[in-house]
Amino acid sequence: MRPERAVYPFCAVVGRERAKKALLLHAVNPLLKGVLLGGAPGTGKTTLVHGIAELLPERKPVIIPLNVDEERLSGGRDAAEVLRGGRRACADGLLAEADGRTVLVDNAGHMPDRLLKMVLAASDQGYCETWGAEGTVCRPARFRLFGAWIPEEGKPLPAAPDRWGLYVRLETPADRDERTEILRRALEFERDPDAFRRKYAQETEQMRSRIAEARKRLSSVRLPESMLRLAAEIAAEAGCPGHRADILLTETARTIAVWEGSPEITSGHLREAAGYVLPHRMTAAGDPPEIPPGAASPEEAERERTSTGETGQRAGETGGSGSGNRPESRPRSKQPGGKPTDDNIGESGQGAGAPDGEAGAVDARAITEAVGREIGLRPLAFDPPRPMRRTGAGKRNRGGAGSFAGRYVRAAMPRGPVRDLAFDATIRAAAPWQRLRRGADDRRLAIWIEPGDLRVKVRESKTGTAMLFVVDASGSMNAGRRMRAVKGAILSLLCDAYRKRDSVGLVAFRDKGAELMLDMTRSVELAERKLRSMPVGGRTPLPAGLNKGWETMRSVLLKGSGLVPAMIVVTDGKANVGLTGLDPWQESLAAARRIAAAGVRTLVIDTETGFVRLGYARKLANELKAQYCRLEELEAGQIERAVRTLV
């Protein structure tokens, strides 16, 4: 077996034209602040990221693995030096080591937030702060950043998506010839990597010199005043805060111009740049999160505002296939042909060569709308549940690892008994004193550790949410449809529960009482089986439902699973069966107050329809201190998105 696996040549990647272009642009221009590739597993993200790194003249790339800890990332005391010399010495972290090189983050979605933020901050600022002999010092950390991320695996990209310069989403191509070619080359590479690499050696060399050439010419490209204005307009239209997007747009457009050998930036270049710079940034601008009662949901507003957005997004996605079968409904801004470019790369064929005299005619809005949003829509505001006080750091680990579960991110002084000792940090803390301590004692200890040196590991593990649906299954007009929507939501939530360690459960109430139909589980199979048939009909014992829900939640809390409880109540609030013969509505409110007092986060989904509305569910939501929305605002698959914002 080879010691290091050979890298699949960048030039041998089939299709993926937009992704390749974005990576090449950053290869040329270090100021583009990183390229993030998003896509399902096996769409070639890793191959591309390692491929581009190999193409660059810079030294070996710095690979940041998921096991990285804070000290290694940002730098700190040099343990070896400290141990040997018994004096304080500092070591650079990966970020400082990366200065002038390339940084690869292959699994950005799974990196702990604070560590990823450190990487992105360094990429943004060009320096990082590290521990020096005399406290913190700034070390240069100018690097090109290439990252990969799997959007399907969970929530919006952690750590400020807009910190990444360019974003490209990869889709699995549906074109058979393209897939056949991908398959052929993959097998060929695997059989004999060296021969395969030789086959592409010439192309690789050409690409290298094209990059080198473009780097030289980067500063020579002219930026007409009109284009500067257009860039600002586009960024404003997209609702990007600050000036980061404007600058990135022009910088990206400049690099595109250089790459294509154009002497100045045109609207076509800006248009193409927008496709890389805006998709993940438009989200960050954010909608007003709260939904005023009765207003259209942001989802709908969204749909209206970017009515062409979807096609634009599709164009962005399929553009990567390079097959030229672009959807027709592109924004029709005035584009006089544009001279044909070398290939049908993404949007460049559309108007990279448009003369800038037309600039005024190019509508910033059309460009923005063509891009469409990519990441993390937030249809409903739902404050994240407060983490409950937990008994142990990671008790949820069933394997019996006790509090040792999770990732060791850094060391800290112990508070309370020392259990999870961080040896490395302890030794580093003790080292400077060795000479001094030995001087005072003649015991021949290899290393003298005193209680004050002890450091414990700070571990970070993801906390899942226990989401309990409490659903009205009584016989109102659309009970069947309602149950279907809820079942769909539960299964969808579970489909990515492995990622977030979430559990989902269901309490249904109808006729005479409430029943726990599905105990908290992470299994899709189990949920599917249990929920296959769910009876509906009868009267509405709302108080019983709420009580059963509370009981279930409480047992989740008592188990100390570390899960954060959240409850989703689906009802119209028209209680007509009580517990004790008292007024069912008053009983419901009392139950609601009890739940609110326990601090369980709740979302009420109101199912009331028709002209005359009594608004009971709204009142219930008030008592529960719950977020509130109406089912009709959340049709078809949107329930789980609403609930997801809970997490």
Binding site: E4, P41, P65, D69, T172, R176, R179, L183, L187, A422
Partner: protein
């Protein structure tokens, strides 16, 4: 030690699991097997028996309780204290290099460990940047995992890393069940004698694997097969390209295991049934069950010959 391993050739039934395991022995770069099923279906026995077939091949066990340090490796504390210098103390990913990494109940694994597995699997290299250590070493292994689907699912990224998946259940046939017990008792009564009894069969299996490894080098998939494979991937709507690649490699390995250098349609169907079920998207409330039969049916609409014609 070897004397106590139940011989692979003596395992009753579980044909698909055995096939999946053996294919990974023929082609070590295939990408492992995920075994789905209840407890007590002889999964561990089979994995140990598999390694026993190949001299020098080890099973490295990754327990669910393993910590990240144990898996990726960590600072050698003893060395640091004695010698005053940093040294890397290798973890399970280093031990598993070139061997079998076995994870029982892989769906219960801590996220950090899954991340470590995925990181290593991506480039076949384990990169460690922690506790003042900066180290990387090759880490390529045959990943074998087991899970009980009722106890939660696997992250799709990890699921996609498994080349094959098989479902196991207890034997339902009474005669087979009796045979399982009979052999188990015979083995426990006298392991050495039991192993001796199966030595011939084991040797035959070894020869067959060795020969298949030679044949595999000679198999060159035709354009037609490549196109058909891509068409299967598109038809079944799987994400990414690993499915296509694995399907082709599995079919090649099956052909080699059967002693052939040409790939037959039934090899492709058998490969698809091992490669596809865990990669197909589950959609809530679709009554359709994605089992092997469903895949076979769908493939029937995609005739082998038609691909050639187009």
């Amino acid at each position: 030690m070897n004397g106590e391993v139940f011989p692979f050739a003596a395992i009753v039934g579980q044909e698909r699991m055995k096939k999946g395991l053996l294919l990974n022995l023929v082609n070590r770069s295939l990408g492992g097997v995920l075994i789905r099923g209840e407890k007590g279906t002889a999964k561990s026995t089979a994995v140990r028996a598999l390694a026993d077939l190949m001299p020098g091949l080890r099973v490295v066990n990754l327990p669910v309780s393993a910590t990240e340090d144990r898996v990726v490796g960590t600072l050698d504390i003893g060395h640091a204290i004695r010698e005053g210098e940093k040294k890397f103390s290798p973890g399970l990913l280093a031990a598993a290099h070139g061997h079998i990494l076995y994870v029982d109940e892989i769906n219960l694994l801590d996220d950090a460990i899954v991340d470590a597995l995925l990181d290593a699997a991506a480039m076949g290299v384990n990169t460690v940047e922690r506790e003042g250590i900066s180290h990387s070493h090759p880490s390529r292994f045959v990943l074998i995992g087991t899970m009980n689907p009722e106890e939660g699912d696997l992250r799709p990224q990890l699921l996609d890393r498994f080349a094959l998946s098989v479902e196991v259940g207890g034997e339902t046939d009474a005669a087979d069940r009796m045979e399982v017990i009979r052999r188990r008792l015979a083995f426990e009564a006298d392991p050495a004698a039991f192993r001796a009894k199966y030595e011939r069969e084991q040797a035959v299996l070894r020869t067959r694997i060795a020969r298949a490894q030679e044949l595999l080098k000679l198999i060159e998939p035709s354009d037609r097969l490549l196109a058909w494979t891509a068409a299967v991937g598109i038809k079944l709507g799987v994400d990414g390209h690993r499915a296509d690649i694995t399907l082709m490699k599995t079919a090649m390995t099956i052909a080699a295991f059967e002693g052939r250098t040409d790939i037959l349609p039934e090899d492709m169907v058998e490969a698809a049934m091992l490669v596809m079920p865990h990669r197909m998207r589950r959609r809530p409330f679709e009554e359709e069950v994605f089992d092997a039969e469903a895949i076979r049916k769908r493939l029937e609409d995609l005739p082998f010959e038609a691909v050639h014609a187009s």
